[in-house]
Amino acid sequence: MMGGKVLIVDDSEMIRNFHSYILKSIGLEIITALDGADALEKIYGTEGELLICLTDINMPNMDGYTLIERLREDPNYEDLPIIIISTEEELQDKQRGFEAGANLYIVKPTEPDELVENIRMLLGR
């Protein structure tokens, strides 16, 4: 996998770590955020392009749906691939996620190979 930056958004340090390990192992550079609000700070504060964003739903300060909606309002991030990774697994949660503008919805706990496959697919690699 060629290089590039990925943003991991989750209020759990362990989840941020685990997803970092998976993505670092395929050569990606990681930026992490504690919640949706922090994610906005990191996205707008980072120079250079973001390849993809992984986000949880339930977080303090700003939930995942709101984060995705805000990003989609900005023409610069309309097309940013976004994957939701959440414990919520009801159909309505997934629908809400896609309505907000997510590309993919994965239910925790993450299956590392599945995540890598999905990312390759989204990035066309």
């Binding site: 303090p60 995942g64 414990t87 590392p112």
Partner: protein
């Protein structure tokens, strides 16, 4: 300030500001039934600004009533309200803890997860005990959360259970979480379990290598050094943070005057690779603690580096290393240097050598 009727009227005004001010006054002027009024408004409110004001007001109120009225909102379909409820309850202290006990038994796994989050934020007296109940939760995500939180809280009462989870789980995320928690709460038995599960480098899957290194950083010993040397050669560019922490941890717990030769070669090599400057800074300081001859030369080499952070590492390293021959070099550097932080480290090292 208006009467209660006026305040309620303003709470539904077309103007955001009026609604925000009304919410504040309803909360803090002790309007009877105020909590219920604010919660009802929160559910209808469309302005992000006013929603945040209402939530912030609710955070500022304390007592049984607020806990009782906010708990049902944990089941809200609205993610903003669900998560705001967690934040509000996290500030309620002992009263909330009492209620969380019951919520930990809820049929809905997501509600149980929220209870764990709230308990973790609350940090009152018996929260560890309650969080530990989730080590037996039916949902693996909640078990993982409980292990993570117990690790952060550094509560060693549940170490045996976490050891067991590590040994028996076939879920890699749970194993990683256990390893990282045991770095803080692990005991002798944990070390035995880890050495048994991962007798050699080949047995550790790539993802677990990171967590394994975190465990070794706090609980590892010299026997793990050769493994780390292999990792520096193979994974040094990706796991640099974890590798360096592991080396530092082991060396700290097993003091000696000189570094073993193979480790020194490995670390010197590491300095020449493409790891971030902050890690080179760290390595130079670490090396400064050991008296190997080669280390003195390495430190001197880096004192002229183009990156300030690396120069700082070399300067600090020289101060710690203690060879007074470095003094004239540092003194002459001081004349030419403009960077404030570098000057501070120069002063410190010069003082150490004088």
């Amino acid at each position: 300030m208006g009467s209660i009727d006026e305040l309620i009227y303003d709470l539904h005004s077309g103007d955001e500001k009026a609604r925000a001010f009304a919410a504040e006054d309803i909360a803090f002027d002790g309007v009877p039934g105020g909590i219920k009024i604010l919660i009802e408004r929160l559910e209808l409110e469309e302005s992000r600004f006013v929603r945040e004001v209402i939530v912030n007001c609710l955070k500022g109120l304390k007592g049984r009533e607020i806990v009782e009225k906010i708990i049902p909102l944990l089941s809200s379909e609205d993610a903003f309200i669900r998560n705001a409820s967690i934040e509000i309850l996290s500030m309620q202290g002992e009263i909330a803890t009492e209620f969380m006990r019951k919520i930990l038994g809820d049929a809905d796994k997501d509600i149980r997860k929220f209870a764990l989050d709230i308990l973790f934020q609350l940090k009152s007296l018996n929260t560890a005990e309650l969080i530990a109940e989730a080590l037996n939760d039916l949902d693996i995500n909640n078990i993982i959360t409980a292990v993570e939180y117990l690790g952060h809280m550094e509560d060693t009462n549940y170490t045996p259970k976490v050891n067991e989870l590590l040994m028996r789980s076939d879920n890699i995320l749970l194993r990683c979480t256990c390893l990282e928690a045991l770095a803080f709460i692990g005991d002798e038995e944990s070390i035995r379990c880890v050495n048994k599960m991962y007798p050699s480098y080949e047995n550790i899957s790539i993802l677990e290598q990171y967590s394994f290194l975190k465990f070794v950083a706090r609980k590892g010993a010299d026997i793990h050094l050769s493994l780390i040397i292999s990792l520096i050669a193979e994974k040094g560019q990706v796991m640099h943070k974890e590798i360096i922490n592991a080396v530092e941890g082991i060396l700290k717990r097993n003091p000696r005057k000189v570094l073993p030769h193979d480790l020194l070669n490995s670390l010197s090599y590491y300095l020449t690779t493409d790891i971030p400057n902050i890690n080179k800074y760290e390595l130079l300081i670490l090396m400064g603690h050991y008296q190997n001859q080669e280390i003195y030369s390495i430190l001197l080499q880096h004192v002229d580096h183009e990156k300030v952070l690396i120069r700082m590492g070399a300067v600090e390293g020289l101060g710690i290393y203690g060879n007074k021959e470095a003094l004239p070099i540092l003194l002459s550097m001081k004349e030419k240097v403009g960077d404030h932080d570098l000057l501070e480290t120069l002063d410190k090292s010069i003082a150490l050598l004088q």
